[in-house]
């Protein structure tokens, strides 16, 4: 039974998979691991080009504060227009309202 014996639970065993000093790109199909310079305030994803503002919870724990808004907007508007155009070309209809 689970109470006896020293076998680690799944959750406890996964602790060794934790990574520090890294962030993941927030773009869903990218999710590239990014290793920012310690203490740096910005990071750019080498794979998809998204740029992020950073916050450091502690010396080993960076987190994405948010995208660099101007870059984010430029990418968003271009992507939305491209996807709308692709949808119209494929179906003859807009991809939504």
């Amino acid at each position: 039974m689970a109470i006896k014996g020293g076998k680690q639970s799944t959750a406890a065993s996964l602790r060794k998979t934790r990574t520090f000093g890294k962030i993941r790109c927030h773009n869903p199909s990218c999710m590239e691991r990014i290793i920012p310079e310690p203490g740096s305030e910005h990071a750019k994803c080498p794979t998809c080009g998204m740029e992020y503002r950073l916050f450091w919870v502690n010396d080993n724990l960076p987190r994405i504060r948010g995208p660099v808004w101007d870059v984010n907007r430029e990418i968003a508007e271009k992507t939305f227009a491209d996807k709308q155009a692709a949808t119209i070309k494929k179906t003859g209809k807009k991809g939504g309202k």
Binding site: T10, A11, A12, R15, P28, M50, G66, A76
Partner: protein, 646 residues
């Protein structure tokens, strides 16, 4: 010991109080907390009862581990039939009340009837008094708590209370304890108000005997290490829950302007890091605090930095207030978020519902469905901070046509507003969605659609689906304690395997709610936090009860099924847009326009969504209509409900 905590049946109409033990076989079937509450609600209410009538049973509880040597057992659970949805009402809060109630001798209160005049309950060392509440009726949530402490002459009294919103039967009024701890969904505060019950106060000094104290302490050290070493909890301890809002806004998973967009750009002033700066500036560097027995300390203390309420003290804000008074209504001001948070805390209202309904009203106003005449001249356009905060006050006191309509909840209000207002209402089962936008995340969309208390993240959201974990890690997590070899997919935009994730998560959340432990101490935001495999030890060392992980899973399944049975009894139907397991059409029809490149253009595929619901039903043992099969009821020992064991 924990198992000798009692259950009290209190009839406010007659004044009768009946105190009984909780039979061991009932404990073994439901443990305590939410699971046992669901059983009590199903057994102590009749089909179709008026949520605001005397026959509705209001149940207040702690978990089976509350106030033991286990970590973070602060949670108080409140359940009744919801006046907002007409279905299951269920809400859960941190703070210090449930442990105090356990030290006073009780784990569950079942409150029925209606007092002739305002009263409050005082629970102390095995006894319960019904006391006059004339002096506190009309007061805010904190004023009420301080006044009760003064009246009872004891600063250690803990109370769960309602504010003006509960008294005014606002259908999404909270039950609250402390400054900001809120049992804040489905309108449990209105049920309290309908019973003329202003507060339940507790003070106890009855020790709880631990079954194996040395082992309990030793194991808790490991448990705490597992909790505090998690990155997610280190972040919570620094920034509180607002970090969740920040991360979600970053990639475009937030609903803003009701449902028009999925990201609030240039929102730097309400990002968690900015709120943390304000807390540091107004309180000091050590501004984080926590609930009973918790090491995470996810709650900030702050003073409102500017504006008409500058200097007022409060706690939080939770990420839900960033959503309610920021993104949803199109505001980017920390002052607005912190002020709005303070107002809902004082009035005792659900910030999620308030923010959602105001943002809905704003979209209706901009669409011309609500008129200036109906708002009494209030300019309800998105981004009007002052109008939004004024609406908070009006809703609490039901002032004016629009606010009074909103105070009844979205679906009744849509009937008053007319035209196609219902089409704009982002709700499930009559409860507004939280501030997240699930169009890019099918697992989360299924979660909000099928959540037992209406659209919600704390009943079945597999948030770790967002972490892009490798499939072999997902298999370890989601393949325990019940083997699962079906599909799983690391992509959170995928539909594959998500129904199992939601089913698994639903059971995790029920499990932790039966134990009385905070969800930040289980697999919610962190993949390495304790769940079914870890819980048998903490339960055994503290209570002496032995369970396998599989048995705890079955108990959780049973609790969820009783909630389902309650909802079915009260009218849940799979595809009913007002009472079903479905989503607003905008999830399917309107693609995301903002956020990360791969989020843009996404919406929920209706056919695939229906397939996920089918799959989810199959895992739960439901038929195509969402009703449990006889085989399922028998497997869970629920074929004879209501069985009236307690």
């Amino acid at each position: 010991m924990a198992l000798n905590r009692k259950i009290a049946y209190i009839n406010l109409t007659t004044g009768e109080i009946d105190i009984k033990p909780i039979p061991l076989d009932v404990r073994k079937r439901f443990l305590g907390g939410r699971g046992l509450d669901a059983y009590l609600l199903y057994n102590h209410t009749k089909e179709g009862c008026d949520p605001l009538g005397p026959d509705n049973a209001l149940i207040i509880s702690g978990g089976i581990l509350t106030a033991t040597c286990a970590s973070a057992t602060a949670r108080t659970h409140v359940m009744a039939k919801s006046p907002l949805t007409g279905l299951l009402g269920s809400a859960n809060m941190g703070g210090f009340f449930a442990p105090e109630m356990a030290w006073a001798g009780f784990h569950h209160l079942v409150i029925t009837g209606r007092a002739k005049k305002p009263v409050y309950l005082f629970i102390h060392n095995g006894e319960i008094e019904i006391r006059d509440a004339a002096n506190v009726w009309g007061k805010t949530t904190t004023e009420t708590q301080w006044a009760i402490r003064k009246e009872l002459g004891d600063e250690e009294v803990k109370a769960c209370v309602i504010g003006p919103a509960g008294e005014n039967l606002v259908t999404f009024a909270n039950v609250m304890t402390g400054i900001k701890n809120a049992a804040g969904r489905t309108g449990m505060g209105a049920v309290m108000g309908s019973k003329n019950l202003k507060a339940v106060a507790a003070r106890g000094t009855m020790d709880i005997k631990i079954a194996h104290p040395v082992e309990a302490f030793e194991y808790n050290k490991q448990f705490i290490d597992q909790i505090t070493s998690a990155k997610v909890n280190q972040t919570q301890g620094a920034l509180g829950t607002p970090f969740i809002w920040g991360a979600t806004n970053s990639w475009g998973g937030l609903r803003t302007h009701n449902f028009k967009y999925n990201q609030l750009e240039y929102a730097d002033d309400i990002e968690p890091e900015r709120l943390d700066e304000i807390a540091t500036e107004t309180i000091g560097p050590y501004h984080m605090t926590g609930c009973f027995g918790c090491q995470v300390h996810c709650r900030a203390q702050y003073r409102i930095p500017s504006g008409p309420l500058a200097g007022k003290y409060d706690e939080g804000p939770e990420y839900t207030s960033q959503g309610a008074f920021g993104a949803e209504i199109g505001c980017r001001s920390a002052e607005t978020v912190l002020t709005g948070n303070h107002l809902v805390d004082q009035f005792g209202m659900d910030n999620l519902e308030v923010g959602s309904l105001i943002s809905w009203a704003m979209e209706l106003y901009e669409e011309g469905i609500i008129t200036d005449k109906q708002t009494d001249g209030l300019d309800l356009r998105f981004g009007n901070d002052e109008a939004a905060l004024e609406m908070v006050r009006r809703i609490a006191y039901r002032e004016g046509f629009v606010a009074d309509a909103l105070a009844d909840g979205g679906i009744p209000a849509s009937k008053k507003f007319g035209k196609n207002s219902f089409d704009y209402l982002i709700q499930v089962k009559g409860m507004s969605n939280l501030h997240s936008d699930e169009r890019a995340t099918p697992a989360l969309a299924l979660n909000v659609a099928t959540s037992s208390r209406g659209s919600d993240h704390l009943r079945s959201r597999p948030a770790i689906d967002l972490y892009h974990l490798p499939e072999k890690v997902l298999r370890k997590i989601f393949g325990s304690p019940i083997p699962y070899d079906g599909p799983l997919n690391s992509e959170h935009t995928s539909y594959e395997g998500k129904a199992w994730m939601v089913f698994w998560q639903e059971n995790v959340y029920m499990g932790v709610d039966c134990l009385g432990i905070c969800k930040y101490h289980t697999t919610f935001l962190g993949a390495t936090l304790p769940n079914f495999e870890d819980w048998p030890k903490v339960v055994y060392y503290n209570t002496g009860l032995e369970f396998t992980p599989e048995e705890l899973w079955t108990i959780a399944e049973r609790g969820n099924m009783v909630e389902r049975m309650f909802n079915l009894r009260e009218g849940l139907k799979r595809n009913d847009p007002a009472k079903g397991d479905t989503l607003n059409h905008r999830y399917f029809d309107e693609p995301c326009r903002r956020g990360a490149p791969d989020v843009i253009g996404l919406s929920i595929d209706q056919e695939k969504f229906n397939g996920m619901v089918d799959e989810f039903y199959k895992y739960k043992g439901l038929d195509k209509n969402g009703r449990p099969t006889q085989k399922t009821l028998k497997r869970l020992g629920l074929e004879n409900e209501p069985s009236h064991l307690v």
